[in-house]
């Protein structure tokens, strides 16, 4: 049973000075499972992601990834352990082009020579094209810099980055927030591809239809606490029910102290 779990957090808590952004989050994710995190603006969703991915250091609590307690000092540690993340802020370098951004911090090199290792541009371009094809993301000119791209294209680049590398867990923080209808459909296709490949996903989204379509489970955050864990695959749960949990009209009995 336990080795079926890819990620677990126990009592995960983050305070920013007096702001209790995340309080005692107990969360589990099974292998192959796609879970949505929902909640109002400022509910603590991104904070939760930042504690798991080593962007920030938690105030207290445990993170157990792939069976072992982990203490990621920085996002690279998390990435090396197999967690790929699309951050809400995207984390792209505006003046660089698409392959540069996909491989930022893990460039392919021809000759190893410390910091002066020679870049293998050709291989990075080819793998970038491969990743874009695999994810169905269409960007007219991968040699163009990010600053020249639309919000949707940037989002696509950030998502293609996670798809370029094999990972044990993918986290996407509002990946379709800035996207039009077609781009959103594309991102949803990428997510379906991950599901078919059995790769687990945490999806933060405000889009009820999307979450209902794509995910197995919804975890609702409210004012820094988890207030509901809804198995939408196996139970008859409507969008209105979820909204009721988000707004605080309803709270699951086991999370009663959250209200």
């Amino acid at each position: 049973m336990t080795n079926d779990i890819i990620l677990e957090t126990r009592n995960l808590t983050k305070h920013y000075g007096g702001v209790h952004a995340l309080q005692g989050a107990n969360f589990t994710l099974r292998k192959g499972e796609h879970v949505a995190i929902m909640g109002d603006n400022g509910a603590g969703k991104s904070t939760f992601v930042r504690q798991i991915t080593g962007v920030e250091q938690r105030t207290r609590g445990d993170v157990i990834f792939d069976g072992k307690p982990v203490f990621f000092e920085n996002p690279m540690d998390a990435r090396n352990a197999g967690i790929e993340t699309v951050f809400q802020t995207l984390a792209l370098a505006d003046q660089l082009d698409v392959p540069d951004n996909l491989f930022l911090g893990r460039e392919l090199v021809k000759f190893k020579f410390g910091p002066f290792s020679i870049l293998d541009y050709k291989a990075m371009r080819e793998r970038t094209m491969g990743a874009l094809e695999k994810t169905g993301v269409k960007i007219p000119n991968i040699r163009g810099t990010i600053e020249r791209m639309s919000g949707g294209q940037r989002q696509c680049v950030a998502i293609a980055r996670t798809a370029t590398f094999h990972s044990k867990l993918t986290i996407m923080d509002e990946p379709t927030a800035a996207l039009g209808v077609q781009e959103t459909a594309q991102v949803e296709n990428i997510i379906r591809t991950l599901k078919e490949a059995g790769e687990p996903l945490i999806l933060i989204s405000h889009n009820m239809r999307q979450v209902m379509d794509l995910c197995d489970r919804i975890v609702v955050f409210r004012r820094g606490r988890i207030c509901a864990n809804l198995d939408i695959k196996n139970n008859d749960i409507t969008g209105e029910d979820v909204v009721a949990y988000i707004t605080g009209a309803k709270t699951q009995p086991e999370y009663a102290d959250a209200a």
Partner: protein
């Protein structure tokens, strides 16, 4: 932009297409400035149809170009150009370095002390600051010393910027003042002269072209490093979006130390060429060089906001600088005008950069 820029529906990829390089604009500016001087040479009555770069009296040295002036133009920007190669990297990484001018002064003094010849016209060297055992050392000694002094000063800059989080402007301002003080302290303000012959050859060799060769050689080397190595990519990434660089696992602090250290080494090399060319070192050498170097980079299209620019641009910026200085001399205008115009050009380049960035931001 063309309609392909919103492309999501069924457009093909293009791995080859590249944007119009910004260096092209700088190059056009260079040509435009040359053309203006050529036109002025033709229309100003007192110029009597002279030309800045061309020499139609080809039977003088057989070339249609005025090689003497061409040499002066490049030579006078080479030594500061070497510093500008370092400033380019610092500014691309999102920083600024105000110390190279003072590092030049200090390095020139120290390196020259290790380059003393024992006999001057058959008499003992009157200016040597160390004993006889330190005279007539192989030329490699002052070279290594110069690189070591530059490395040390740059390393201190880098450590201050990366680990104390003082703004680079302040950290390197401290170095600017301290290194100048150290240069004066080194020989109690006395100039140091009379280097060995091989040392003198560093900046005077190859019939006077050697500073140009060293400048262009270093420019090519660092152009390659910035374009084709991980170091270069990370320098751009940090200047472009430091948080993204950190989130991508780039060791930002360590990288900054390396960038400032390289800038220090280049300042040391510049001092070596300068002291050798002048056959003397003085504590006041290199004053304001950092500002000229920054001006060259900015004119060359390096953005003070970081993330943007190139060595090619900086070399073109240095040439624009050289052409303007020579052009003013050729028009027989006073040096005051030179400085005023230099000031205007620097401000214009920064305004242009800001305007370009605002346009990019508006598109996003």
């Amino acid at each position: 932009m063309s309609e392909t820029s919103h492309g999501i529906g069924g457009l093909s990829f293009d791995a080859k297409k590249r944007a119009w390089p910004n260096e092209m604009n700088v190059f056009i500016a260079l040509i435009a400035i040359i053309v203006i001087f050529e036109i002025l040479g033709q229309v100003l009555p007192y110029m009597k149809g002279q030309s800045l770069l061309f020499d139609f009296n080809t039977n003088r040295d057989g070339t249609i170009l005025n090689m003497v002036r061409l040499k002066i133009i490049i030579l006078q920007v080479s030594i500061i150009g070497i510093i500008a190669i370092g400033s380019t990297q610092v500014i691309i990484s999102g920083g600024i370095d105000l110390s190279p001018g003072s590092i030049v002064g200090l390095t020139a003094m120290v390196a020259m002390s290790f380059a003393q010849t024992a006999l001057v016209n058959g008499n003992p060297n009157p200016k040597a600051i160390f004993g006889e055992a330190w005279m007539d050392l192989p030329v490699i000694v002052p070279i290594v010393v110069a690189i070591a002094v530059g490395t040390f000063a740059g390393l201190v800059n880098g450590l201050l910027v990366a680990y104390t989080r003082i703004p680079p402007f302040i950290a390197t301002l401290g170095m600017m003042v301290a290194a100048r003080g150290a240069a004066k302290w080194w020989s109690k303000g006395q100039p140091i002269s009379f280097p060995t012959e091989p040392f003198g050859a560093i900046g005077n060799g190859m019939s006077g072209w050697s500073p140009v060769v060293i400048f262009i050689g270093l420019a090519i080397l660092f152009h390659f490093i910035l374009k084709y190595t991980v170091y270069g990519k990370h320098t751009y990434a940090i200047g472009s979006n430091e948080d993204a660089a950190r989130m991508s696992g780039i060791k930002v602090d360590r990288h900054k130390v390396l960038v400032y250290t390289i800038a220090g080494i280049l300042a040391g090399l510049s001092a070596l060429v300068l002291a050798s060319k002048n056959l003397t070192a003085q504590a006041g050498m290199g004053v304001m060089y950092e500002l000229d170097a920054i001006a060259m980079t900015v004119i060359g299209g390096v953005s003070l906001a970081g993330g943007r620019g190139s060595i090619v641009g900086t070399v073109l910026g240095a040439l624009i600088f050289g052409v303007i200085i020579s052009g003013f001399t050729y028009l027989r205008l006073d040096a005051y005008y030179q400085e005023m115009v230099k000031g205007i050009i620097i401000v214009a380049a920064v305004v242009l950069d800001q305007w370009r960035r605002q346009r990019a931001a508006a598109r996003a």
